[in-house]
Symmetry: C2
């Protein structure tokens, strides 16, 4: 099976655990049997591999998520990187070209496109596989997975099929309706649109060439910025006459809000948390180093990270977005290709950051125009290069870098350092990258 | 008027704003007209000085609070420092000796003893002044201030007077009763014991010499550790036959819990706080640099500091102590004589601290046996001395100290630095102090 996972999203609705760099699918919130935690993307990846060890999984995502994906899924996973955001149709077209031109997938093979963040069980991916088989038969150009509605939700789009068979021809799509209209749809046998669909690769390549002018994957990648912002639903699904929908009745949850996320937590608290006995239906995720003490609370979610602290009534938490939009501060933590970055102090003309490099990893060789930096190694061993001069470093060593000095650090073991940035104009934009001698 | 303010207390009940070093009376929580905030001790000090600019105010406290008191009240305030904790009778005896032997207060003058943390208005200190005048008349050996009860509280001791006059002879004292007994007391005209009392200095000096063997203030100070732990109530009040109580009917609040503290807040939020419109009766004190977002909460207090985060139902907050007792971590912030100390990162074998020195201030000249230290100055100018070698420092300068190196820093302007402590056994106990050349 070939599966394309769409990994998008900003980080507003699950603030402060998500931010502009870490989307919700990377929050480690699901407990494994061994006591560790996995993220939405790790859970989905594991579930697919459990069902079909040979599945070819490609993640369609933006540049900003590549480091997090490799950190969480390893180097093996295929990634189709969107140079910028251009909505789902260009993203799926790019992934399709990648599968054909780079991965050598044959045109008659089926591709399933699936959001990266449904909270589901194994039966869901069995259904995904059936969807793939159905697309291979060629009976329809597009095969959708519809979810049997459990209530007249106003949050989802609806698929109206012509009958109640497990595979039905699709009559029409309806956008998010009001409650009353949703009730009418459900009486007519309508399904929620899960965002999962399958097609033969040739179908999508043809559509792509029909709608966009490009030669192959590399060409499409280079032109990406000039492509129109257009959704797959609008560009393809709504215009296609030959569509089938498959009914799925198993568990399917959209973990888009703190409320739904907390329902999927195996235990009420993650991190340093103390709850008194009078707490009822309280969920806490604390990524800070200091404890959270919760007393006498009911139906509350609490999230704490370097970005800030959320305390919300569960139902109310779905209205979080405008409040998070009103917060303007720099990114306080980030998962990098080489490890972790966490701001620990913000002062006038100075920023203090804790940096953890994974063994064998290194930063880019880079410089800053407008700031000096001081590194104090607090744990581990490695090497630094500053203006071409290499030096072995260990805990207690101090490395000084003036503005414009090119510098990097390589970790032998896990290497932790405190970085102090000094200057009147500190900005993440202020970074020039260089090649080290011998690098290509 | 001579007034002794008793400033004791650990920091459990108002965690995380208070800790083992910062007692609740130093939390800046009351808004001034100019938009700044004052603490309980600052508010009480200001109220006394407003009423009687010539009042001689002495704060009886332990060594650990001296820096905070000077920082908040200035260098002028009299402090009677208890070398260790020995309950209220030795503390009051020491303060009385200090007033007589050091401050030259005459034996016939009245002294009022008062807790440092009542939340009161000006009328309270007018009553305190009346209490002082009454003690001066010598009609009774001890004059107490009793509070007219507003409900049958189980939290307070009760004074049973012989009649309902504004000054009455005291018949007896009753310890914290149950609700039913409290109701009976109140029907009998009983008063809450406010902990405020007045006497002529001679009375207390006589009692002190009667119960403890010492010559003068200096001698008592030196013997302090060998004194018995005994309360003033037990040693003096309960045995004294000639006591009067004065009735006070004005506002009097004991800000001992988050619930009562929040009632005294002028506005619902201090610090970076966003509350949505659906919050009702919510109070937030956020001393962190990152925002707190509160949504859909009712009757909740939230406190956040470097120590941790409390979210509690208001009524439930009075049961906080055992939960705070269960938290074991190092002190995360402290107000020092020279400025502020805040832990910003805790790692294995390393601690990162942000240190702010006030202009003209300096640390003790000191060394550590078991840790190296690195200072990176991030703001301001000053001088460092390391092993006798003096050096001018400014933002960006790095100072290295090996274990055993004697070191200090003096601030010209406000001086901020990041201190990185490195070693396997980092402890606040690991500190040896030295004199600088020319110091006495």
């Amino acid at each position: 099976m070939n599966i394309v996972l769409l990994s998008g999203g900003s980080g507003k609705r699950l603030w402060p655990l998500s931010n502009d760099i870490r989307s919700k699918q990377f929050i480690k919130i699901f407990k494994n049997l061994d006591g560790s935690y996995e993220s939405m993307v790790q859970r989905v990846y594991r579930q697919i591999k459990n069902m079909d060890a040979d599945a070819v999984i490609t993640i369609a995502t933006s540049k900003t998520q590549v480091s997090a994906i490799h950190n969480q899924l390893g180097e093996e996973v295929g990634i189709s990187v969107e140079p910028c955001r251009r909505d789902t149709f260009p993203a799926i077209a790019l992934a399709a070209s990648y599968l054909h031109d780079v991965k050598g997938i044959q045109e008659h093979e089926a591709i399933v496109v699936c959001p990266v963040d449904p909270y589901v069980n194994e039966d869901y991916f069995q259904a995904v596989q059936e969807l793939s088989h159905q697309a291979e038969t060629g009976q329809a150009n597009l095969v959708l997975m519809g979810i049997e509605p459990t209530y007249p939700s106003e949050k989802y789009g609806y698929i109206i099929p012509t009958d109640n068979q497990s595979f039905s021809k699709v009559e029409t799509f309806k956008e998010k309706p009001d409650r009353k209209t949703a009730e009418t749809y459900i009486r007519q046998g309508a399904l929620w649109n899960s965002g999962v669909f399958a097609f033969q690769l040739k179908y999508l390549l043809d559509k792509s060439h029909e709608l966009m002018d490009y030669v192959n994957y590399q060409d499409l990648f280079e032109r990406y910025e000039s492509l129109p912002r257009i959704s797959f639903d609008y560009a393809v699904a709504e215009k296609e006459k030959n569509i089938q929908a498959m009914r799925f009745q198993g568990q399917w949850k959209d973990l888009g809000t703190w409320n739904t996320l907390s329902e999927a937590m195996e235990e009420p608290a993650i991190g340093k948390v103390i709850m008194d006995e009078s707490c009822e239906n309280v969920h806490v995720v604390n990524e800070m180093d200091v404890p959270v003490l919760a007393m006498g609370l009911k139906d509350i979610v609490i999230g704490a990270s370097s970005e800030g602290i959320l305390i919300s009534d569960k139902a109310q938490s779905s209205f979080i977005k405008p409040y998070v939009d009103s917060i303007s501060q720099q990114i306080m933590f980030a998962e990098k290709s080489w490890g972790l970055y966490k701001v620990i102090d913000v002062a006038e003309d100075a920023l203090t950051v804790k940096i953890t490099l994974n063994p064998g990893e290194q930063m880019n060789y880079h410089s800053h125009k407008n700031r000096d930096e001081v590194w104090v190694v607090i744990n581990g061993t490695g090497r630094t290069i500053v203006e071409g001069a290499e030096r072995r470093v260990k805990s207690g060593d101090v490395i000084l870098m003036q503005a414009e000095d090119r510098h990097t650090i390589m970790a032998d073991s896990v290497l932790t350092l405190i970085e102090i940035q000094l200057g009147a104009e500190i900005s993440t934009q202020d970074k020039q990258k260089f090649k080290l001698e011998g690098e290509e």
